[in-house]
Symmetry: C2
Subunit: 328 residues, 2 copies
Amino acid sequence: MIASPSLSVTFGDVQAARDRILPYIHRTPVLTSRLIDEQAGARVFFKCEIFQKVGAFKARGAFSRLTLLSPKERSRGVVAFSSGNHAQAVALAARELSLRATIVMPTDAPASKIAATRGYGAQVVLYDRIGGESREEIGRRIAEEEGAVLVPPFDDDAVIAGQGTLALEFLEDVPDLEIVVTPCSGGGLLSGTAVAAKGVNPEIRLWGVEPEAGDDMKRSLEAGRIIEVPLPATIADALQTTRPAERTFAIVRALTEGILTVSDLELQRAMALLASRMKLVVEPGGAAAFAALLHGKVPDAAGRRIGIVLSGGNVDPERFRTLISDLG
Amino acid sequence: MIASPSLSVTFGDVQAARDRILPYIHRTPVLTSRLIDEQAGARVFFKCEIFQKVGAFKARGAFSRLTLLSPKERSRGVVAFSSGNHAQAVALAARELSLRATIVMPTDAPASKIAATRGYGAQVVLYDRIGGESREEIGRRIAEEEGAVLVPPFDDDAVIAGQGTLALEFLEDVPDLEIVVTPCSGGGLLSGTAVAAKGVNPEIRLWGVEPEAGDDMKRSLEAGRIIEVPLPATIADALQTTRPAERTFAIVRALTEGILTVSDLELQRAMALLASRMKLVVEPGGAAAFAALLHGKVPDAAGRRIGIVLSGGNVDPERFRTLISDLG
């Protein structure tokens, strides 16, 4: 037997994160639908992070990180780069904890996410994602200039531990889950969920879901090393990363079954079904885990008790209308 | 002090209904949003009956009634007339309890509701609502011919008691509600909620909300007797009744503050805000209580803890898209 390399986030880290963030976040409900069960041929449990503060699980990671800051760090404020949900989450957490926040966002981020981030009192710096500017570089420059603490969207142990807290709640509500499926962007949600779920029950099988166009984690797992992909063209704006971090890659590699991929049309079909059957507004990336299940891509799912993370619901109304139309 | 006339449904009836229906229905979650609170200037708690079986509170009343049938009645089956949600509810309850069900539905009911009713195994008989045929007459004729038990949508004490069960849950989850607002069609939901809420806390203030075009309960209260209105032209298909029943009228008159009205545009604005802020798909009639609060129509609401019943989510996707568009 080959020993696993030690991972950067432990089950204890997730439990500690939960204690820290408890006053600030919602315990989100788990919803079910018999009609969905019949369609999926399994018992499906939806962890509704669309009802989380800022409309996405990212609030967990942001509060987990910001509650660890020293008094000196707090006085200098935080900076984050994000295509949307992480930006809102850091802005909210900063406001709640009375810190200054600067957020670097792409100009093509959904208008509602930019507006919401500003609404939380953060200073927003826009950059041109297509033009080749690196948000990491901009974020790091601002952090240096202002002495602020950079809060990465996934390449951070406290952020990963924070995201994992949703799995603790999920398994308290539905202790006998056999499979848990989450969307996968940089891997923070998937790796945090994996650490937490395996800590509760080592038999649980974890899957992550990427858009076909942005399968950097899948390719990295196949290659056994981090692979970078071009900026993916997908409707799932929340899943437009080009490469995982070393720490998320290591956890996903050690603890999950692997990565599944879905097309944009499969995401749209999942969104439409969630709207009509579950009465839920889910953003494209937030529907990725359900899209994989719905299209028969989750191995050995038949008859199982499956946890599906609906990770975010921040989609402009006009865009939502367009995406759930004309699915043939 | 004038003694109240005795009402046909008691708090004990609601408690008994709850025991009967417990195995069959969902305990629906209560959701909140700080952004909605800021916009409404109050603490708002949403009782999400959109997640109830069949997507609406009507499952409660149907199970409450059908679980009271005698063995002889069960053998003859049930018949119901409904524009939609009650139809699905009776069809589901009949299937769960192994009864035969015939449902009389208007030809212009939403396609999804007709399909769902058939999907539950009920026989659907369509009639032309605009043409002047009376669904009550058709339902009664079928009931007589087949010896089946007629299950009215609201003019029935067991149905009213069943709808009231949602208020028991609501006040367990949020004990210090000061005001509860529900949509009002024939008054079954409002009167059941009033009996239950007043039974828990006599100080709670109850309001019902009708579409402006179909304010039969409001006019009846003002006249002190039942007033019939023409078939209302409103997007709220679930609220298209022309008159309350004697028993719902009596309860609403005795236990509530009164009736508020909202326009179709106000319903649409409420639906759009529930979709963008709360990530919830709510049908037009289901959003009526929130529409009244949002537009400042609930008296003395500022700073109060207000329970809003989101009563149903059954709206065709295409219609939903249209209704949340173009609100100026």
